[in-house]
């Protein structure tokens, strides 16, 4: 008997895996910096035991480094927690600005790997819709995956949710190689998820932008 979890599908599992791998990599980087700062404190302690003076400013800098990385890890884990809970309910009213912002944060590392910056704009009016939150996250992830790959290094992608008379949409602008890549290079899984959500992607080649029409 089919269950709501069937909607996650192969693409959903791959999405979950990619996000988890990216988060674990980010956290390892945070731990590496914390580890070296802890090691530095050990080095300073060892030197002090042998009679060297400890510079209070040096200690303060190390404490600031710890705080910076703890804050960074906290942000990563908050995003991870919100992402993990997105499979709790399969039909929910969501705020598109918040949901797309979460996906943009999760895609921050893949974007940084290609030297692309993701910017989230606040909509003029709240853009809410009732949908399957995990599927919508997956769909926006796939759109961003495509947009990042079709944007030159150093480029900026701006994401703008909008409520229009005909429904809710998400504009993704700044895709400078859109004409070459769309629609041939859309990632696997996009067609199935957009069909399941009744969504469509409309290109505007003159503006290097895509509009994801949702409801």
């Amino acid at each position: 008997m089919p269950t709501p979890y069937d909607s996650i599908g192969q693409s959903g599992l791959q999405f979950f895996g990619k996000v988890s791998a990216s988060i674990s990599h980010e956290l390892k980087n945070v731990l590496a910096i914390i580890n070296e700062n802890a090691g530095l404190l050990e080095d300073l302690t060892f030197a002090a035991q042998r009679g060297s003076a400890i510079d209070p400013e040096r200690l303060n800098r190390t404490a600031q480094n710890f705080l910076k990385q703890i804050h960074r890890a906290d942000e990563i884990l908050k995003n991870m927690s919100r992402f993990a809970h997105s499979v709790d309910q399969f039909n929910l009213q969501v705020n598109l600005h918040e949901l797309a912002g979460l996906v943009a944060n999760l895609a921050g590392r893949p974007a940084a790997m290609r030297k692309v910056i993701l910017e989230m704009a606040v909509p003029q009016e709240p853009a809410t819709l009732t949908t399957n939150p995990f599927l919508l996250e997956n769909l926006i992830w796939l759109c961003l995956d495509f947009a990042i790959a079709a944007t030159s290094a150093g480029g900026t992608l701006s994401l703008t949710p909008e409520r229009t008379d005909s429904g809710i949409c998400l504009h993704i602008a700044g895709i400078d190689k859109l004409a070459e890549a769309f629609p041939g290079q859309m990632p696997e899984g996009y067609d199935d998820i957009s069909a399941a959500l009744g969504a469509s992607l409309v290109p505007d080649f003159s503006k290097n932008a895509l509009t994801l029409r949702l409801a």
């Binding site: 990599h25 390892k28 980087n29 731990l31 590496a32 070296e36 700062n37 530095l40 480094n65 910076k68």
Partner: protein, 142 residues
């Protein structure tokens, strides 16, 4: 003579604290925050070892390793990674990496590897010098 290394990592905070700790251990450290900058520094200088992050923007560690080893087959390269797959580990070793270590790394172990690389480099230099002297002796008539 102290060891001379190049650290390549896109995490500026990591480069900064790692350099400070290594310098405290009498290791001369140069840093680069991208693969491109790292390749330029390797071309311009001489290092006992390169410590290279596996995941970096634009060019990843495996590709950087490939270029480094093509240009300097004797260069010791140690890869550091947040999390490597078995496939990446095998690829790195096939390309001639000295080691692949997971972050957070054990600095004492890393320092040992650097010393090992320094000794190997000295042996290679001595061997090359010996060969050069032998060649000179064989070709010159005096």
């Amino acid at each position: 003579m102290s060891e001379k290394i190049l650290l390549i990592d896109d995490e500026q905070d990591f480069l900064s604290v790692m350099s400070e700790r290594m310098e405290a251990r009498n290791i001369q450290v140069s840093t680069a925050s991208s693969a491109k900058e790292g390749l330029e520094k390797v071309a311009a200088g001489s290092f006992d070892a390169v410590i290279l992050d596996l995941m970096m923007p634009e060019m990843d560690g495996i590709e950087t390793l490939r270029i480094l080893k093509e240009k300097n087959p004797d260069l010791a390269v140690i890869l550091l990674t947040g999390h490597a797959t078995i496939k990446q580990g095998i690829e790195a070793m096939k390309l001639g990496a000295l080691d692949l270590m997971e972050k957070p790394a054990d600095l004492s172990l890393l320092a040992e590897k650097i010393k090992e690389a320094h000794v190997k480099k000295m042996i290679i230099i001595e061997k090359k010098n010996e060969e050069m002297i032998k060649e000179i002796l064989a070709t010159k008539g005096w």
